[in-house]
Symmetry: C2
Subunit: 228 residues, 2 copies
């Protein structure tokens, strides 16, 4: 087919195809050519819908964050729970929802880290967190950096976790990554120099990573809400 018939795709169809690629073959496979190919279209045709790869990725991020559960600002007055407890529960729920979203789709983290988070759904996330901290009695001067801290912890935590997962994938390519003479690399396996790290490794191995994530959010909230 030379010029081809008018196919007229939806943005939603394109994004769905992109996510299928992301889930099936990872972030690297989400190329302009790859997405176009899976839609039976030329790379150039995709540029009719999105002016650049970056724009396509932005669209994907919004699509993903649309599924984020930010909860509601229910003032639980009737039950025995204090407002602060309700706020803690909501922030934790948001953080866990974010984690689930990014851990669930392979490559979603790289996607989200590939650019700034300033779309409407990212703002929805910020608004929910700000609302929570305001409800807990924080002034905006404290609530704004508190939101920043929660976002930083959540994204960093997910990033560290997903980087660790990559190790297992690399285990197949088991050749030594370094050969000689890199400064400081001679003692690559000298665990004895880091006794606490060695001990901690066994502790960490036993712990559920979700539990660790939650524990950190709780500690952060301890510090954040102490000023309410």
């Amino acid at each position: 087919m030379r010029p081809g018939p008018r196919r007229s795709l939806t943005h939603a169809e394109i994004l769905d195809a992109a996510f299928d690629l992301l889930e099936a073959k990872g972030f690297a496979a989400v190329s302009v050519r790859g997405v176009a190919g899976s839609l039976g279209i030329t790379p150039t045709a995709l540029y009719t819908y999105y002016p650049s790869k970056r724009a396509l990725l932005r669209g994907m991020i919004e699509h993903l964050l649309a599924r984020l559960d930010v909860g509601a600002d229910e003032h639980v007055a009737v039950t025995g729970a204090t407002t602060v407890d309700a706020v803690r529960a909501r922030v934790l729920r948001i953080a866990l929802s974010l984690r689930e979203l990014l851990a669930g789709h392979a490559g979603a983290l790289e996607l989200i880290m590939s650019g700034p988070l300033d779309g409407p759904n990212a703002m929805r996330l910020d608004e929910a967190l700000l609302e929570s901290f305001a409800t807990a009695g924080l002034a905006l001067d404290d609530a704004a950096p508190a939101v920043y801290a929660v976002r930083a912890y959540a994204f960093g935590s997910i990033a560290l976790q997903s980087a660790e997962v990559d190790v297992e994938a690399d285990a197949a390519a088991s050749e030594p990554l370094i050969k000689t003479d890199v400064p400081g690399a001679a003692l690559w396996t000298d665990l004895a120099r880091f006794p606490l790290t060695e001990q901690a490794a066994t502790v960490t191995a036993q712990r559920n990573s979700t539990a660790q994530f939650v524990w950190g959010v709780e500690r952060l909230l301890d510090g954040l809400l102490a000023r309410g």
Copy 2:
């Protein structure tokens, strides 16, 4: 020159060239071909020193983290400062050193996020943080996740900041990134729907980003050390 003379490069020379490229042209420019080219060498020749691009990046990460200041475990008994205050100061110093290191070199964050942090210098970082929390009286069961939380906050914070910086770079390409019909994108600029976020934006704009980073570390430490 066909087969060429034996140049016999050092790993250090290669890494220096790679960092020059990183600083001058960003992470994307750190390609096997690019690094090889800047050394006056064929891409294939680079594979004699590093078996893959990933291995080269690992070498770069170690090279970078070697400059990390993790402080020392001085028990300040003489001065009026409590041990807990000394620990707070040390953790903060490490976090700031990490931030400075990654913010200083353009593209360093992408570099560090490109793979797991398990080299000797990454372990040196972990060991220093574990030591700090142990000194503050935390049991290893709490110290290990505390280290995890600090790392998560620090990396996440730096990641969010560097993603924001990219916005300014994109300002030149000022065409609209989305055209129509993306779900939820119609209200892309509808700031009125997020009143708190709008207010917070003016607050955040006034604040120094380093101050915000420090504030978050302090709050996290508040929560972490409350159990010592």
